[in-house]
């Protein structure tokens, strides 16, 4: 598994990720700091002296490249600096707590997406041209065309209004949720909204590649040996059918990460996406850049992880 080539490949990819993160966050950093109207333009500043002190406090009196260098070295040590709006609030711990919540929602969404998509795709392929297939195929195009916030709104409507007696508004606009132990519903409903459009794509891809694989000779051989049907489908066919499906995982991860910004705001989930959104409105540049850098790094690592799962699913692929 972990040959020298693989390690070399991982090393190269890590370098590219590092380069990407630095380039991207550097561009955002430069962009945000070169523009007029930073957080210190607010009414709380009464004198030039006060502003000078503030700038010195945040290290903003230094030249821009030095500021960025300080930020990056700090970030690599897990120190993302201090909030511009709420002075004294360290960004690192704040963001770490929110990242856990976002990760919970994101991973649930990922599991839901891949799980449901695969099951539906396999079922549709196995019963090709039956009414089950038609219903699932049509549903997948419909699902693919529904934005996550539309599905989220529908779920809110269904669970928050029509089934209100049953749910008692348990997840509906959670106020004061500290997020550490969100209930099942609080995590699950946003995750379903987040993952549904992508589940449709996964289902479509799985169906298409299952249909190709299921006709191959080795599948017929497996059947002829008298193996149980589900063994043939799951162990022989699905394993190979999954190879094309893995290509969607990269965009899927990006979609779930960025879609989180919308969904977390809709459901009031106190995660990274919501933090990003509020900070960008408050012009809390330090938090915006910190969250953005984390996201960029996360996406890079996720893509690397996806590429490495190829080797697990398809041993013919070597790096």
């Amino acid at each position: 598994m972990l040959t020298r080539g693989t390690l070399l490949y991982i090393g190269q990819r890590m370098l590219l990720i590092l380069f990407t993160v630095i380039a991207v966050s550097g561009a955002v950093f430069a962009g945000m700091h070169s523009l007029p109207g930073d957080a210190f333009f607010s009414e709380r500043i009464h004198s030039d002296e006060q502003e000078r002190l503030l700038r010195a406090h945040y290290g903003m009196d230094k030249p821009l490249p030095v500021q960025y260098l300080n930020f990056i070295t700090g970030a690599l040590h897990g120190d993302f600096g201090e909030s511009v709006i709420n002075r004294g609030t360290k960004i690192g711990p704040l963001v770490a707590q929110e990242a856990v919540i976002s990760a919970e929602v994101g991973f649930t969404a990922l599991l839901f997406t891949v799980g449901l998509g695969m099951i539906f795709g396999v079922v549709a392929a196995v019963r090709q041209n039956s009414w089950v297939d038609y219903v699932l195929t049509t549903a997948s195009v419909v699902g693919y065309s529904m934005p996550s916030f539309v599905i989220g709104s529908f779920l809110l409507l269904l669970l928050g209004k029509f089934l209100f007696e049953w749910t008692h508004g348990a997840f509906y606009y959670v106020i004061g949720w500290d997020g550490r132990y969100g209930t099942f519903g609080q995590i699950l409903v946003p995750a379903v909204a987040l993952g549904f459009p992508y589940a449709s794509i996964v289902a479509r891809l799985t169906r298409a590649s299952m249909l190709e694989v299921i006709r191959q000779d080795y599948v017929r051989t497996a059947r002829a040996k008298g193996l149980a049907e589900w063994v043939v489908i799951v162990r022989h066919a699905l394993r190979n059918a999954l190879i094309p499906v893995t290509t969607i995982l990269g965009p899927l991860v990006i979609g779930i990460v960025t879609g989180g910004v919308v969904i977390e705001n809709l459901f009031g989930v106190p995660g990274l996406g919501k933090e990003f959104y509020t900070s960008i409105f408050n012009r809390d540049y330090n938090i915006v850049i910190a969250v953005f850098t984390i996201y960029a790094g996360l996406i890079g690592l996720a893509n690397l992880a996806v590429d490495l799962t190829y080797t697990v699913i398809d041993p013919r692929i070597r790096y």
């Binding site: 955002v28 962009g31 195009v141 419909v142 409507l157 928050g160 990269g250 919308v262 960029a296």
Partner: protein
């Protein structure tokens, strides 16, 4: 289940062999017409375009005029799609929102195609160092959380009030890579074909090879890719509007209308349902059309 041709089918029957000649485009059009879903989608999109154009000259009520009827009023003869929380006519707002969505969706693709084709042709035709640099840039852009970049651009550069052109540019800036990669792949493969070699051998200049051979032969995939890009751009704009950072008010957009609706979801569900369904239907129509075009423009697939 493959159909094994029987001997009878292969028997020589003079009349059936001679077929009317048809160009690729006529062929594609014939195949597209046979795809019922794509046809329905085309009709829907045609109607939507008509509605959007009519919106320039006539809407039942002013889109920003508040209190033209009962607040959060439901569907009625005077207000076909009801009223929103400020007492504005939803049908009128939906019509103008269609303009925004279509303009963003189609306009973005104009940018994306221009950038993607130029960059892709450069990388695929020149290869070598140029290709390496462009591929690296593409990979860097793929690592960017697109929505977050667009949000930052909108708030920081456009001060939270972006023009519609600005939104198109912001979306294109994060969505040009698919097209560039596609064109690059096409160029790489087509430039090695025999007919291109023949053209080159008979003295064709690079410009002739690119614009006479590579580009026309990649047109099919480009069109399909652009068609799939339209709903993505519309969706992106809806996300921005839903977060309150799309087209600034008073111009209505489907995303911002849906957001307004979520605030009144308990009392008047139709406010969120109407724009959400309009949006979903439009995205679906573009996706069906894209599917249809892909099937129709793929000459290897004979049906």
């Amino acid at each position: 289940m493959s159909v094994v041709p029987s001997l009878v089918d292969q028997e020589y029957v003079p009349e059936t062999i001679v077929r009317e000649q048809s160009s690729l485009w006529a062929d594609a059009w014939r195949r597209l017409r046979r795809n019922r879903l794509a046809l329905v989608a085309t009709v829907y999109l045609g109607l939507l375009i008509v509605v959007a154009i009519v919106g320039f000259f006539y809407t039942p009520y002013s889109t920003s005029h508040q209190g033209v009827g009962p607040i959060e009023g439901s569907f009625s003869a005077k207000h076909w799609l009801g009223l929103d929380s400020a007492g504005r006519d939803i049908l009128s707002r939906l019509m103008i929102g269609a303009q925004v969505s279509l303009a963003v969706g189609l306009g973005t693709q104009v940018f994306v195609v221009s950038v993607g084709v130029v960059v892709g042709l450069l990388a695929g035709y020149l290869r070598g160092a140029v290709d390496s640099v462009i591929t690296l840039v593409i990979n860097v852009f793929y690592g960017i959380p697109d929505l977050l970049v667009a949000l930052i651009l909108v708030v920081v550069v456009a001060n939270g009030k972006p023009s519609i052109i600005f939104i198109m540019i912001a979306i294109s800036a994060t969505r040009w890579m698919d097209m560039a990669r596609l064109v690059r792949g096409q160029a790489l493969s087509i430039r090695e074909r025999e007919y291109v070699e023949a053209a080159r051998a008979s003295g064709a200049k690079p410009g002739k090879v690119i614009f006479g051979h590579i580009l026309p032969n990649s047109l099919g995939p480009i069109i399909v890719q652009a068609t799939f890009g339209v709903p993505q751009a519309i969706l992106f704009e809806a996300f921005l509007s839903f977060l309150g950072l799309g087209v600034p008010p008073p111009t209505p957009s489907w995303g911002s209308m849906a957001f307004d609706g979520t605030q009144a979801i308990q009392t008047a569900p139709h406010i969120v349902l109407v724009p959400s369904i309009a949006l979903s239907l439009t995205l679906m129509a573009f996706n069906f059309l894209g599917d249809g075009l892909r099937d129709a423009l793929d000459p290897r697939q004979k049906r």
